[in-house]
Amino acid sequence: MITIENLSKQYGSTTVVDGVSMQIERNSITVIVGTSGSGKSTLLRMINRLVEPTGGRVLLDGRDTRGEPAHLLRRRIGYAIQGHGLFPHRTVGENIGTVPKLLGWDAQRVRARVHELLEVFQLDPQRYAQAFPHELSGGQQQRVGVARALAAEPAVLLMDEPFGALDPIIRAKAQEDLLAIQRRFGTTVVLVTHDMDEAFHLGDHVAVMSQGRLLQYDRPAVLLTHPADPFVSRMTGLADRALRLLSLTSAGELAGPGELAGPEVPATASLRDALSQILWCGAQGAQVIGADGKPCGQLTVAAILAHARPA
């Protein structure tokens, strides 16, 4: 768990981060979102002390992060950035092995970990471990960047607009990868983005920042139904907030017993996608299909619509 207490950063007379306090839960994805200049990156970089706070403190599992030299702290915290920052003069394998090597793992263990991660990220170790970063596509470079951040099995992974430079299709894939990997390793992820769709898609919790202050920090649905500030509703979007709300719940969660004539939607699909399919087919509801490929309930338009507004 990461506890941020009254954290501030001033450069001269400008306050970049202004008294932010928040608790980040273990094994969850927290997204910090805001416009550029909102202080979200600075806040993130104060967690691993790439930026030293001028006030307040950060606790990692109850221990003050200032209790050890900054570079030793950072070896325990994964860090992935926009534009990946891979070392161009080192192979993909050496890049991924950077932190384990700094931690003094033996060569055998580093190699095994590099291979494991390359496989997790769907990169053939035989082909890519010895390749140089410039030989990879943008999406592959980004995956190697995340793999490198995860190499030493950090409990916490900080990501600063990690998918900002990717085109939409590769970005969607990278987001799915991140969700799968977070579930697999149980990493606590803190991700900074200016993309509200990304925030809602990835975040278990979303923090909205503006002008250095934390305006609201809650579950995505609460941000939509009970915005704490006009800026939060502007960020989350007023026009399509009903649809956004639908996108946060899966069809499986709302499925009722019984069967119904209509399109089939997987239980993992969002209500928004389910509704879209129902509308497309001109039906009154949908048949929900479980992970085993068998029908596991039905979903009516009425049930979906009831879910599209604050309770």
Binding site: H71, R76, P88, H134
Partner: protein, 245 residues
């Protein structure tokens, strides 16, 4: 094999042959002499002079490299940034102060021979190495530096395993420039009794022997060209992973 490679090999063979058995080339240089003067330099061993010349240049370049690279690293650290203007001024003086003047100033202090030449060449060779080191270190991609720090490298580890390897092509280029400039400049060392190819040229000037002047000049020029090529080849080899971008 490419034509350029063949030419370089031929130049190398020519240079070595001339230095080892200069008398074989006597008929070639004879038309340049008058009144039965010797066509080939005979007041010393040409090979020995060439090696001494090269040794002086390399020693001076090594000293320039150590000082210029260290200084370049120092002034690109946050703690040393304020020394950048001062260092730049000092290094610029080293380049603008004519080597001959350096000789004139240093001879009274350290005496005749190798030492004043080494000092002059050292000062003259600082600038290209220093400037290239600074440019290289200042232009390391921000994301790469950020990642290195974010991974938990200490400032020293970041310098040694990321910044310097990435700066290496430019630093080596600076060393190459410095070396090549100084192969020519080193000939003036002979005015203060340093062993080198300048001796041949000066002997030619004193006795109006065009053959001597030409020999000294040609050997120096060939050495500069070959040294340049050798450095380019070495840079390619040493930086093969960095330059693949």
């Amino acid at each position: 094999m490419r034509i350029s490679t063949v030419l370089r090999l031929a130049a190398l063979v020519l240079l070595v042959t001339f230095l080892v058995v200069p008398q074989k080339f006597a008929p070639l240089f004879a038309p340049l002499t008058q009144y039965g003067a010797p066509p080939i330099y005979d007041q010393g061993n040409l090979l020995g002079l060439a090696l001494a010349h090269l040794g002086t240049v390399i020693l001076a370049a090594a000293a320039s490299t150590v000082v210029a690279v260290s200084l370049g690293i120092l002034v690109t650290r946050p703690s040393g940034r304020e020394f950048l203007p001062l260092s730049r001024t000092l290094v610029n003086i080293g380049q603008t102060f004519p080597p001959v003047a350096v000789l004139a100033v240093t001879v009274p202090l350290v005496g005749f021979g190798e030492k004043p030449t080494l000092i002059a060449l050292f000062a003259y060779g600082l600038l290209p190495i220093f400037e290239n080191t600074i440019v290289a270190l200042q232009t390391t991609p921000r994301a790469v530096l950020e990642a290195a720090s974010g991974m938990g490298m200490s400032a020293w580890q970041r310098l040694v395993s990321v910044e310097l390897p990435l700066a290496m092509p430019l630093i080596l280029e600076g060393i190459r420039l410095s070396l090549v400039i100084n192969v020519g400049t080193a000939t003036i060392g002979s005015t203060v009794a340093a062993k080198g190819l300048g001796e041949v040229i000066i002997a030619g000037l004193l006795s109006s022997n065009t053959a001597f002047i030409l020999q000294g000049g040609l050997v120096t020029a060939l050495m500069a060209v070959l040294l340049y090529d050798a450095m380019v080849a070495f840079e390619r080899y040493a930086c093969r992973t960095v330059q693949t971008e």
